[in-house]
């Protein structure tokens, strides 16, 4: 089972002390130039007391199960000596993170995943935050330097010499999708270069309206400040206490209240709603000044009920958005009531904090640049009764009271809103008032006053300008609270962004081009000398990988061709992979089995993800009587090589007189076998030496005064070759089906031969059959019977159009030939 990112995160956190907060982790990291390409490293960004460090952890399992599976390889303090940048990584999904610390340099291959951007953002934040920290703040790291298990074990990594790093070359062509995420990741890292901080005023308000419908203007709350804010986040609680609202989460009050909110916004600016989210009575509206609207993006919201069955009489709603390049998150909550229920409130908070999940990244509250937490948190004042509280208030001893404020206490103990900041409270408790008055609860219950309504924040660059309550809005038992912030928003400088973006793309292009597979081939043209029938020749080409990545090569088909090379050529291997610096010998073999003047082919050697190279193969062929047509051969009186070019051309075009009834070569072979081979046992079966066949072929083609060289068996094999490679089979392809159909009746077969076969082929066919009949007279000596001979010659005289396709001894063909072996042929010679 794969552990989730969150699981691993928890395991990593367990490796550290509680106060050493793991801010972000990155899985699937490997060391560039490391011995293994296992992505078994985990990067962890850890913060302790505002000092950050980057830890490189090695996991002993592919997925750590417990913190003891993790060992610390490297610790790099994030202080002004720290810098980092990235380069496009070598592989499909990789980017190389280069970290420099003084003279040391670390490089990690990072597999880009969905959490990469968060990690990058955290890293940048830490780096930014480090500029004003003192490098000596790193004392908390000392204990870890001792535990580092790498070979450079050193009490201080800072003094390590420069690490020389060679990029490891496990590379594939990059996909464009991957390029996109890599670009995003790198842009995030470079964000400080193309953004600048601008202050935006953010008004955050919270009010528990006690189920009342809106009746009074909210101006005195929402437009309290002189200048119109840039952003509003207005949170209400208990806008509807009805059962309907509770069960159906539907209420007309939403629209009513929202109208009052909009009407209450600062009159000196126009605002536009960005998002409105509601859970039962908890409602949160975020508005921006019109002029900023076009810089708002990735808006999303979520809600989380924590009350009874999580249905939402208590709980929280959150809205997230990006304003320019800063991510903002507003959370409005209404936590559990009653003085003694502070633990429940802590738990409610945790539920909201961890379980709110936005549809857009970052998905969790905690991962935003700025978080504003507001609402009726419902924390009370402990240990004091109503009259004691009231007395202290009258004496203006607010600080005494604030010390026993549950929120302050729980926060101090790290039980709630850890790392959140709240400004000094200078306003009186905002709960509980008699309606339409400034008088604290005079009912029987006489609840002690409390600061239930609060606004806190977390994140960089937030400055609280004011924090106040609004006593003149009296319709609820709570008073509204608001806070004005001046917050730093990072704004993209378009020209700088363009430059960074273009530079990055250029770098990536350059990198991508450098990492294309590159090979050289030692010859672009392969020429074979005189290529002769069935006399294979070999040439070798050497493909050398001159690039930096493995090259996968393959000879590919040209358009409209069925194979990657002509049938007279064999390429071995026709595909493969070559590592950088290595070579591969590729053998080209020609084997000529047809009648060609010249050999010519262009091979396309394709590199996967890269270029193609062309290799031209050519050669001259030697003519042979084998592979010619019968009708050409009967026009040739002398060995084929004795002909002049013109004579040859005219014979091959079936021009000129016919000299013979059967080709001279056929006659020579048959005559030789008739005289020397009839009694040879297994005449057609033995395999003659290749040279012997070549000698006989040359004897036929060049002529000689000597006898045919070679044994009867070699001559017999040449005879079979001759018949097998004639340009057209003795029984032409288009006649073969009829022959097979006629095979069980000799008369039909005879008619076919007489009527359909031309004179030259018919004569040759009958000539061969008569020879075979003669052969069968010596069965006792040569061991052949008619069936065997018919089967052998059926496949040759009626050969298949596709060579080498293991001839299935066709019964029909055998039977057809058999007829001509068993019947008197003299009558067949004369047409009726």
């Amino acid at each position: 089972m794969l552990a989730s990112h969150q699981d691993v995160f928890n395991i990593v956190q367990a490796k550290f002390l509680a106060a050493e907060v793991v801010k972000s982790i990155h899985l699937n990291v490997s060391v560039v130039d490391g011995p293994s390409i296992n992505s078994d490293r985990i990067l962890a960004l850890v913060e302790y007391n505002k000092s950050c460090a980057l830890f490189v952890l090695i996991s002993s399992r592919s997925q750590p199960i417990s913190f003891s599976d993790l060992s610390i390889e490297t610790v790099i303090p994030i202080d002004p000596n720290f810098s980092c940048e990235t380069e496009p990584g070598a592989g499909q999904h990789y980017v190389i993170l280069i970290i420099k610390y003084k003279q040391s340099r670390f490089q990690y291959n990072i597999e880009i995943g969905k959490d990469s951007c968060n990690f990058a953002a955290e890293l940048i934040k830490s780096k930014e935050g480090s500029s004003n920290t003192n490098p000596n703040n790193n004392t908390w790291l000392e204990k870890y330097f001792g535990t580092m298990n790498n070979s450079n074990r050193n009490s201080d990594p800072v003094d390590q010499g420069e690490l020389v790093v060679i990029r490891d070359g496990m590379v594939q062509g990059q996909t464009a999708i991957n390029r996109e995420s890599m670009l995003k990741y790198q842009l995030k890292l470079k964000e400080p270069e193309f953004t600048q901080k601008q202050e935006f005023s953010i008004f955050v308000g919270t009010w528990n309206v006690n189920g009342q419908p809106p009746t009074v203007s909210l101006r005195s709350w929402l437009s309290w400040d002189e200048n119109p804010p840039d952003v509003y986040a207005v949170g209400l609680q208990e806008i509807d206490l009805s059962k309907e609202a509770f069960f159906f989460n539907d209420t007309p009050r939403e629209a009513e209240w929202q109208k009052f909110v909009m009407d209450g916004l600062h009159p000196n600016a126009k605002y536009r709603l960005v998002a409105l989210a509601r859970l039962v009575g908890i409602q949160l509206a975020v508005m921006v000044n019109n002029q900023h609207y076009r810089y708002v993006k990735n808006v999303s919201f979520d809600t989380r009920g924590t009350g009874l069955l999580g249905m939402g009489n208590k709980g929280g709603v959150a809205v997230r958005l990006e304003l320019h390049n800063t991510s903002l998150c507003f959370v409005n909550c209404h936590l559990a009531a009653h003085v003694e229920e502070f633990e429940r409130r802590n738990q409610d908070y945790k539920d909201i904090d961890t379980r709110i999940n936005f549809r857009k990244s970052p998905h969790e509250i905690k991962d935003h640049d700025q978080i504003y937490w507001l609402g009726d948190l419902n924390y009370r004042i402990t240990d004091l009764n109503t009259s004691q509280v009231k007395t202290l208030l009258q004496r203006s001893e607010m600080n005494t009271l604030l010390k026993v404020d549950q929120l302050n206490q729980q926060k101090e103990r790290g039980r709630v809103l850890v790392n959140y900041i709240e400004g000094d409270i200078t306003f009186p408790p905002t709960y509980k008032f008699d309606l339409n008055s400034d008088t604290y609860d005079t009912s029987e219950k006489a609840r002690p006053p409390a600061w239930t309504d609060r606004i806190l924040w977390r994140g960089r660059g937030i400055h609280q300008v004011s924090y106040r309550s609004h006593m003149d809005i009296k319709m609820s038992d709570h008073k509204p609270v608001s806070s004005l912030f001046m917050s730093e928003i990072s704004v993209v400088d378009p020209s700088k962004y363009r430059k960074v973006h273009e530079d990055l793309l250029k770098k990536m292009d350059k990198h991508e081009n450098e990492f294309l597979p590159q090979v050289t081939v030692d010859q672009a043209e392969v020429t074979f000398e005189l290529v002769k029938f069935r006399e294979p020749q070999f040439k070798e080409i050497i493909i050398a990988n001159t690039g930096v990545v493995p090259a996968e090569f393959e000879f590919i088909k040209k358009l409209d061709e069925s194979s990657y090379c002509k049938d007279w050529l064999t390429i071995m291997p026709f595909c493969g992979s070559i590592n950088p610096g290595e070579k591969c010998d590729v053998k080209l073999e020609v084997n000529l089995e047809t009648d060609l003047e010249t050999l010519y082919d262009i091979l396309v050697l394709h590199l996967k993800g890269g270029k193609d190279m062309f290799i031209t193969v050519n050669g001259h062929c030697q003519k042979s009587c084998i592979t010619q047509t019968l009708s050409s051969l009967v026009r040739i009186q002398v060995p084929i090589m004795h002909l002049s070019k013109e004579e040859l051309a005219s014979a091959l075009n079936n021009q000129g007189p016919i000299y013979y009834s059967v080709p001279r070569e056929l006659w020579l072979l048959v005559d030789h076998l008739y005289r020397h081979g009839l009694r040879t046992r297994d005449l057609f079966e033995s395999c003659a030496l290749h040279e012997e066949l070549i000698r006989i072929r040359d004897w036929l083609d060049f002529g000689s005064k000597d006898q045919i060289p070679g044994t009867p068996q070699a001559v017999a094999e040449t005879f079979l070759l001759f018949l097998s490679y004639t340009k057209e089979p003795i029984i032409p392809f288009d006649l073969q089906d009829s022959c097979v159909a006629a095979a069980n009746n000799f008369e039909n077969c005879r008619q076919l031969i007489l009527q359909k076969l031309n004179d030259i082929h018919r004569t040759a066919f009958l000539y061969i059959c008569m020879f075979l009949q003669e052969l069968l007279k010596y069965s006792n000596d040569n061991g052949y019977d008619a069936k065997t001979v018919a089967s052998l010659f059926g496949d040759i005289l009626l050969r298949d159009p596709i060579r080498n396709s293991k001839p299935q001894a066709s019964r029909g063909k055998t039977n057809f030939v058999y007829n001509f072996l068993m019947n008197d042929l003299s009558s067949s010679l004369i047409p009726k």
Partner: protein, 216 residues
């Protein structure tokens, strides 16, 4: 509540340009400067002695336009006549072609016209074709008049520029002009199947939005 979940399709333009990928092929007589143009465009270099291409070289280069980023997959083909029959492998499925001739050699202009004709017949119908009269730095040996080529280009709907790989004149410009002319969205991106057909490659903001689990 028309706008409760806020602005979805705001063109932010700054950080989220889309990347379109296009296949571009260079065609033309051998030695007119195809490889040199690519080398100039991709690496900013020029070699007096440029090795002749035997095959089809492959490089990539990205151009930033205002709102989009165009990534070219460039196939630089061999110009020799003997390899002519292989050219369709490279221009088939290409969204753009640069047909190059050498302004000092009239024959290469004739050859360029043949290439244009072949592309118009055989290549994808939406292909953007640019005609490049290269070696403009050798204008004193000019054999092809600018006006003649311009007229021809106009008649055939081609982009046209005289370029010099040597001085870099108009090299980026011709690629830029092509990038601008190429259609940047799926509908216009041609129909020749699966290879890099002006693919839009941004994930980002396009996912369907479902209502939140609160306000209904």
């Amino acid at each position: 509540m028309a706008n409760r979940s806020g602005a979805a399709q705001r063109p932010n333009g700054q950080t989220q340009g889309k990347i379109c990928q296009f296949k571009l092929v260079l065609l033309g007589e051998s030695a007119v400067g195809k490889s040199s143009l690519v080398l100039r465009f991709v690496k900013g270099q020029f070699h007096e002695y440029q090795e002749s291409t035997i095959g089809a070289a492959f490089l990539t280069q990205t151009i930033c336009l205002d709102d989009t980023t165009v990534k070219f997959e460039i196939w630089d083909t061999a110009g020799q006549e003997r390899y002519h029959s292989l050219a369709p492998m490279y221009y088939r499925g290409a969204q753009a072609a640069i047909v190059v001739y050498d302004i000092t050699n009239q024959d290469t202009f004739g050859r360029a016209k043949t290439w244009v004709k072949e592309l118009q017949r055989q290549a994808s119908p939406n292909i953007v074709i640019a005609l490049a009269g290269n070696k403009q730095d050798l204008a004193n040996k000019r054999m092809v008049e600018y006006e003649e080529a311009q007229t021809y280009a106009d008649e055939n709907g081609l982009l046209f520029m005289e370029t010099s790989a040597k001085t870099a004149m108009n090299v980026n410009d011709i690629f830029l002009a092509i990038a601008k002319k190429l259609p940047k969205n799926e509908q216009n991106a041609g129909q020749t199947g699966n290879n890099a057909q002006g693919r839009r490659l941004t994930e980002g903001d396009t996912g369907p939005k479902t209502a939140g689990n609160c306000c209904k």
